[in-house]
Amino acid sequence: MCSLGLFPPPPPPGDITLYEFNNALVCGHLYETLPLAFQSQLADLPVLGLPKETLKAHSRLEHGTKPAFIHHRESLWKRCINAWRDVGVCGVLNEVANAEEEALQWVKTGSRYALAVCHWVSSLHGSLFPHLSVSFWGAGCTIRAFAWHPHTSKFAVALLDDSIRVYNTNSATIPTLKHRLQRNVAAMAWKPLCASILAVACQSCVLVWHLDPTSLSTRPSSGCAQVLSYPGHSPVTSLAWAPSGELLLSASPVDTAMLVWDVSTENCVQLPWFGGGGVTYLAWSPDGSKVLAATPSAVFRVWEAQMWTCERWPTIKGRCQTGCWSPDGSRLLFTVLGESVIYSLSFSEYRGEMQGQVGGSKTASIVADLSETTFETLYGEERIGGEVHSMAWDPSGERLAVIIRGNPDVPESPTVIAVFRTRNSPVFELLPCGFLRGEQGAQPQLIAFHPCFKKGALLTVCWSTGKISHIPFFFVSAQLPCFSPGRSPVAAMASASVREQPLFSEL
């Protein structure tokens, strides 16, 4: 088992981590450039600063075009109908209670009482089902979601003002995606095996943007977006594409059913279960065989993606916070809210003959202890450790990045990114690599690995200051050299199962 005590001490304050080379993280000042040999690898990756002030932060408060028009008084009856259409029963009650008309005094008092009862009942709902009230950590920061394209150097960033920008290293145009229904973006995912289709989880629906990769337009029209909505399925907070590119999973913490979408035809199939609330986190294993679905209660499920049966995993302490799959889909690392450890769960190798079996081992084992550790450095002591907020495993399965949230009560315990070196076969190994440090005062919010970085791994970090930086890890993969430029799921799976066989490359 690996613990934080084995880590090298964090870099001195003021320095930021630049890259990893020769198994050590190299720090330096921001203006220091990479060694020449590596510069070509990163030359075209944009380092972005998206400060909060530049965004029109209050765009969400405007409800339509109402403020642009002169106020016009309508009859009470008409206003009630409008309120009914917009907000529902509560709106009507509100409208009646606040009406200025003299008549109907008793109706007004009645509706006031009814409104009070409504409010009381809705507050009761929150206290009865605490897991249904969702809050986002770090909701105040600029970047809400980040997604790398699975095959090319292209990524999408969802911003606080509900717009999405798509950056492409090969083109200077930065399309900005805006849509009437694109509110409270919680997650994004690019469709695999496709040039440019982006699924966005919004408040009321899933938007699927069909972007033309050759287009020069910076504002694709909302006609390019497909709206996938299902009654009772909102807010959508997590998405996952099947690695084979055919199906999209969407989930909401309020809806107990996950939806499997056939996006091209907008057909969907519900995957219901009973109890446990909705789904807070989805992760499809890279080989496409299994899906992790975490619920707001102390249980998570691992679905098998052929016959769609699930294995139920109750945890002891809290809900499953995050999880990630090894590239061959045989191992799941997950963390639990309230515990500062990483669990590992291994699955029997996927053969396809065991229809409807998930094949998980009996118990999960602890592979890393991330409890608080004090480091004595030249610049004073630093306390690092705590719960894990999110994890990312690089596509070659060699590096694992973990955001460790510090103790919120202690000011000097910061949120850090810890990086592990990992190996998945023949035996699972987790070795410390080091801590990543960003600029002064910046906290890491989101992390993601570049899906096809040739010289090792490339970690992209979105900081709370609105900065997006890329940190390369240069190493030679211990696995077989990868023939394909983009690691396809089938190839990854196949190389795992028939590794000894000679490969052909000549045609």
């Binding site: 496709c194 055919e246 499997v260 396809g352 394909s484 430029p485 089938v490 045609l507």
Partner: protein
Amino acid sequence: MSAGPGQQQALLRQVLGWRVAAAVAWSVLLLPLCTAAFVVLSGIDPFHPLRWVSNSFNDLYTSYVIFCILLMSVVILVISIFNVEFYAVVPSIPCSRLALIGKIIHPQQVIHSVVHAVMGVLVAWCAAVMTKGKFQFLAVPCTSSESLDDAVPQVCLNEYHLFFLLSGAFMGYSYSLLYLVNNMNYLPFPIIQQYKYLRFRRSLPLLVKHSCVESLYLVRNFCIAYYFFGYIPRAWISTTMDLHIDSKLHPLDTLTGLLDLSLLYHAWLCGVFLLITWYITWLLFKIYATETHHFPVQPTFAEETDQCLPKILNSNPPLIIKFLALQDLMLLSQYSPVRRQEVFSLSQPGGHPHNWTAISKECLNLLSDLTQRLIAQQEAAAAANGRAKQPAGELKISPQTPGAIVTEDMSFQLQRSNVIPRAPMPSLVKSSLLPLKASPGSDVGTPFSSPILNCKAGILDLNSPWHGSVQSPHIMRRGPKLWTSNSDLQMNGSHQESFPVFSVVRAGSEAVQPSFIYTWLQNKQEQIKNFLSKRALIMYFFSKHPEASIQAVFSDAQMHIWALEGLSHLVAASFTEDQFGVVQTTLPAILNTLLTLQEVVDRHFKLPHVSSKPPRISGSLVDTSYKTLRFALRASLKTALYRIITVFGEHLNAVQVSTEHKKRLQQFLEYKE
């Protein structure tokens, strides 16, 4: 080589037989549950809940309820037989209103409707008997009203019972009609594999809701019908069965008679009962029939040869078997490394990759068939749009249509200008595309691009003499369409400076000679069509709905989607799993076929009247997924290409494809498609 029809029937029976049996068994087993629910709900009495519950539980054991269950089982059996006889994996989509009417009065459909109406009467009779009260019997004793003093006991007609029976017949008939109109005989295959129980449970709430709502509409329609025509069957029944009409009661074909809440509730409940039991039967059949079937790739015993996957794909089995085989191919290529290994294996004596050859050949045949069909459809569309869209027309018309030219030249001579000649699918198009299919390995380019370029160039330099010399508006309008054939172009090229019109006429007359009668007939046909198309009513029936005809073209696209998925997964897996390199030999052909199809599909979505987005599908019980198959095809075609391309990457540059396709491949490699 191919198995005889007898063997195929045996195979069909073997695959489908037990599924049908299980579906029927389950729907019969579920019948007592539905009946119990019906009995409980029909005796509803909100003011005496205890009495209601105890009464309805007592009723469940009575002999007539048991008899009704037996009778209903027979009804279910008959309904199942009709489901089995009428199912289709490829929906038949009527393209015009006339075709729809033709389908409704087709003898087969008439039998379907009549039998369903009779079954409806039986169900309604059961419902009436189980409801008891005033509905139970057709004949009730009553007293004649004229003489109150000497009350003579008489037998009167119970109109409530008659109302029930007729509503049953009406609902049965409506069910049959909706079954036809909504294409409910179509078996949609699910997008994900799930266990049967889960699929059934998922659909059950939807089924109940749909039945309740539909029954409401049916009762409303029946009430309206009964209000106007109710006196006819009443008089008929009362005379034939010698029953009196009780004049003390309100007749039901009046407003006051129909506004009887209990009557409406029970009629509605009877409708719900009928629809739920029949829909459950239908749903179970659908679930069982579309379940995956495991076909062996390699026969373990000699007598199993006819049932293994390559053999079935290559023979011409019943469509459902072919669908199941393709579905199995898709699943094995995606999920089962062991079975993939069997596909890539070599035959034991001889060392031939028979399995792979058979499978890939069939998939490629399917795909190139689709390509040809789409080309034909695009030509028809282009011919129809030739006049309306002149600038685009010249690009859309495929060059190899001498047949179309012939008709047009004739029409040109006859000075008919307002008729749009329907270009009959010329046989030459097929032959020109044959090399594509026949020698897939050879270096065949796309069938359009280069001729189109020629064509365009020809028009560019030909246009000037045309516009200079000819003034006739007909010719002007037809200008672009006359220059669509390569041979024509060459022929005209020599004469163009001097007499372009003459050369055209001569070229036309030369070609006309062998089949003059044929063209004459065609002209007459066009003339008649032209004459008829001016009559609005006939237009209404004959006019083709563009959306429907597009749906009809793609109605069996599910097969092609599976072929694409199976093929692409196999090819992608072959990168690491194919030990003998059997896939490499077919890789150029596969890429050619896929890229050509991609080109044609792209072109299809650029046609006028073709929407680029799927219509909204309401989450209803009736599956309309066949309407969106073309979008699924487009998506899976692109995914299939990317799947192959991501795995092979730069190695694809070594594959022999035409330059056009090479360019296309490069775009795919850069993720710019």
